[in-house]
């Protein structure tokens, strides 16, 4: 039989294009995992996309919901997914059957950019490169539990776990993977003593001044108090906390672990959206325009690029901003527009023609792609000049007119706002403060309020789900308007009260 091999391999033209582009990408210095392309029909693309790119996921209705959305908007011609690539070794990328040849080339060039980024960016270093297998295993585990315990019950619990999936700690991936700070330790037998420096008696009050000793004593006492607290330090990885300390059955632990695991896997993609899309766009643009593009394809190529990089009035396009920032970096480092002298120069003319012929652009590009994420990227490389050129502005909700309005174009504000919306991937920062709140085994979370309120409806429902997992009332401290509030949910009822400050 004409075996599976043939069915898997690409049609001859696509295979040729792939080999050519792959060669060029290597030459240009990109370093990627091998990439497997699969050609799929439009609707298959919707299916794959609904599963986040993975052919096998655990059964859950939200994938069906996503599929419905994609399928509809595809059917009505509102959207079309050109490309989809997943971070795995080998990388797996999907090509839409109905794409024209020039699109397929563009997509391939773009995909090698992503693959290089996946492989080399430090924020992806912790991700599982066999995620396709891991996902399939997760599916098998969930399915097994469903067979054993019943679909309804397992699904209901997956719903609970998913509603907490963003409560993880981005920093934890760089720390050791020990359990979160342990519970209350055994009572220590002896009162710890302050270490004194040995000194002659007449020097004692100078070498060990009484205030200092008192201060140290207090510190020790606090330390002890802290150790008695649970968790010892506020914990951001709430899923992990639940895994260790919530009263869960084995199968429930499995599910939380799966949700948490997948959350961490997808995390870097959210942390590097602007960079990653910009990087892939930068490379597809170079590969296409410098090497691959044929004369007859130029118009189509330009047309499609215009679509991808369009700036619908008032919206923020990560492809566009990312691409331009990368180009800006290359240009600046090529012309030596960095460092002390450059920063201190404020003569317009001089700056305009500044060129030390440093030619460090390329080197810098690869350095940045290895070490940065969106937050540090914007923080370091967003310049007032760039904001001007890209016509960036800040918009805010106007309570009086009840609409979103352009607020201003001040560089400082733009940067602040951008950094805010990128920090923690635009999610509120929430910690477990106390796992034994009021000494009643209740759970207290604290929302690190940064000027933006939580959505109360969502917060209420999420808190309910948390309470159902924790099996005791749960609280979250946050701020609404000027008031500090404590929301409480015990699984059936919701209360809120104003806290005195």
């Amino acid at each position: 039989m004409e075996g599976t091999d043939d069915a898997m391999s690409l049609p001859i033209e696509l295979a040729n294009a792939r080999d050519e582009i792959r060669g060029i990408a290597k030459q240009l210095g990109l370093d990627f995992f091998e990439t497997v392309y699969e050609v799929v029909s439009g609707d298959e693309m919707n299916e794959v996309a609904a599963y986040g790119g993975f052919p096998v996921r655990y059964p859950h209705w939200r994938f069906g919901m996503e599929y419905e959305r994609l399928h509809k908007s595809h059917a009505y011609g509102l959207s079309k997914i050109y490309e989809l690539v997943i971070n795995n070794n080998p990388c797996i990328a999907y090509l839409q059957e109905s794409n024209e040849m020039v699109d397929q080339k563009l997509v391939m060039a773009h995909v090698y950019g992503h693959c290089d980024f996946f492989k080399n960016n430090i924020y992806f270093a912790h991700t599982n490169r066999r995620m396709v297998d891991a996902m399939a295993n997760h599916a098998a585990v969930v399915r097994r539990h469903m067979d054993r315990i019943g679909q309804e019950r397992v699904e209901a619990f997956v719903d609970l776990a998913l509603s907490l999936e963003n409560l993880i700690d981005p920093q934890r991936v760089f720390l050791d993977q020990r359990p979160p700070a342990p519970g209350p330790a055994e009572e220590e037998a002896e009162e710890p003593q302050v270490q004194r420096i040995r000194a002659k008696e007449y020097l004692e009050s100078f070498v060990n001044p009484p205030e200092f000793i008192a201060q140290q004593k207090k510190k020790l006492a606090e330390e002890k108090e802290r150790r008695r607290r649970f968790p010892e330090r506020p914990e951001r990885d709430i899923l992990l906390f639940l895994l260790y300390y919530a009263p869960l059955e084995r199968w429930q632990q499995d599910i939380i672990e799966i949700v948490r695991n997948e959350s961490y896997y997808f995390l870097p993609q959210m942390q590097t959206k602007v960079m990653n899309e910009g990087w892939a766009s930068y490379w597809h643009s170079r590969i296409m325009t410098e090497h691959v593009l044929e004369d007859s394809e130029v118009v189509d190529y330009a047309d499609h690029c215009a679509g991808v990089f369009s700036m619908p009035p008032g919206q923020f396009n990560p492809y566009k901003v990312g691409l331009e920032l990368w180009r800006d970096i290359e240009r600046r480092w090529d012309r030596g527009q960095f460092g002390k002298e450059w920063e201190e120069c404020d003569d317009y003319e001089t700056r305009l023609h500044w060129n030390t012929e440093a030619n460090k652009g390329r080197e810098k590009l690869f350095e940045v792609r290895r070490l940065y994420n969106d937050v540090t990227f914007i923080d370091t490389f967003l310049t007032p000049d760039f904001c001007d050129r890209a016509q960036l502005f800040v918009y805010k909700w106007n309570e009086r007119t009840r609409r979103l309005e352009i607020s201003d174009r001040e560089f400082r504000h733009i940067k602040e706002q951008l950094l805010f919306s990128l920090t923690n991937a635009g999610q509120p920062i929430i910690r477990v403060e106390d796992g034994n709140f009021d000494n009643r085994g209740e759970l207290l979370l604290i929302h690190d309020f940064q000027g933006v309120e939580l959505d109360v409806n969502y917060a209420r429902d999420t808190l309910r789900n948390l309470a159902l997992i924790w099996n005791r009332p749960c609280h979250i401290r946050t701020q609404l308007g000027e008031k500090e509030k404590l929301f409480t949910h015990d699984g059936t009822d919701f209360r809120e009260k104003v806290l005195d400050r």
């Binding site: 391999s9 699904e155 509603s163 502005f393 509120p428």
Partner: protein, 364 residues
Amino acid sequence: MLRIERDHNRFKEIVKGRIKKDFKKYISKGEMIGRQSGKTISIPVPQIDLPRFKYGKNQGGVGQGDGDSGDPMNGQPGEGQGAGEDPGQHLLEVDVTLHELAEILGEELELPNIQPKGDRSISDQRDRYTGVRPTGPESLRHFRRTFRRAIKRQISSGTYNPDEPVIIPIRDDFRYRAQKTAPNPQANAVVVYLMDVSGSMGDEQKEIVRIETFWIDTWLRHQYGDLDIRYVVHDAAAREVDRETFFHLRESGGTKISSAYGLLDKILREEYSAMDWNIYAFHFSDGDNWGSGDTELCLRLLGDSLLPVMNQFAYGQVESPYGSGQFLKDLRGHFKNTENLVTSHIPDKDRIYDSIREFLGKGR
């Protein structure tokens, strides 16, 4: 290839569950009727979403493009329009086919299936070879389709050589003719809506009628597959109108119900023989009739010529500030044990749910 179908079905089940849960609310709201397009209806269901901690509306952000301070963001309503500003309450538009809707209606109201009368209910079936499928007996092999697939495969896998065009179909390429069973139309059904449009019927009453007819249509169409619908309005005289007019016409003056029943009788006698048709009539009025003499006439028409040929005659009485409601009492008094006459009293929208159950609950 993928498991999406299973998840998609599960999602649709959940959505249907939501609709069912709030079905009582949907039934008495007219909003669904306006959303019908073709064979599907789009129902706004509260967003089915996994809750999570997220930011509320005062978030703000960074945009790109022209504009001055104080300009609205694109796609935002103008000043002062508060519509849709409530976050977290996004509605999900779900397309449900009328067929599915009728199924939900049937399940929720516990409606029995209708047993159509007459020979026509035995539907005729014929097999025709109109389809193609990947398996079958060799005698039904579709030569052209098979080779078309083979050549497609060879070209796309690069094994086709135009200089030596040898095409060898493999197992996967084979296609066979398949029969499809085409059922002949089943039982025929006609429904005639009669409505009192005299001055005493207000807009609210008409809205109730409009909603009732929507659900009756949905159910009967589901049961019969195809449905003739006729509309008759009456005040002191009756005439047949189209759908549009039926719901918007407003007359003044008195009410003579017998005029409508007379016209109904005429329509049935001329166009719909009881032998071939399942016949339904739904009459909506505020129960005010012009004198007891006319009511006598109505009762006689019903008893002698209408009820004997019909599957069901339904009378729904809406309440208006002017109507006396006498007609309902007369009907109920006169036809105490008549199987195929149902009456329902619909004082307000909240009663629509029960009245539909009364109308359709007999399975006739």
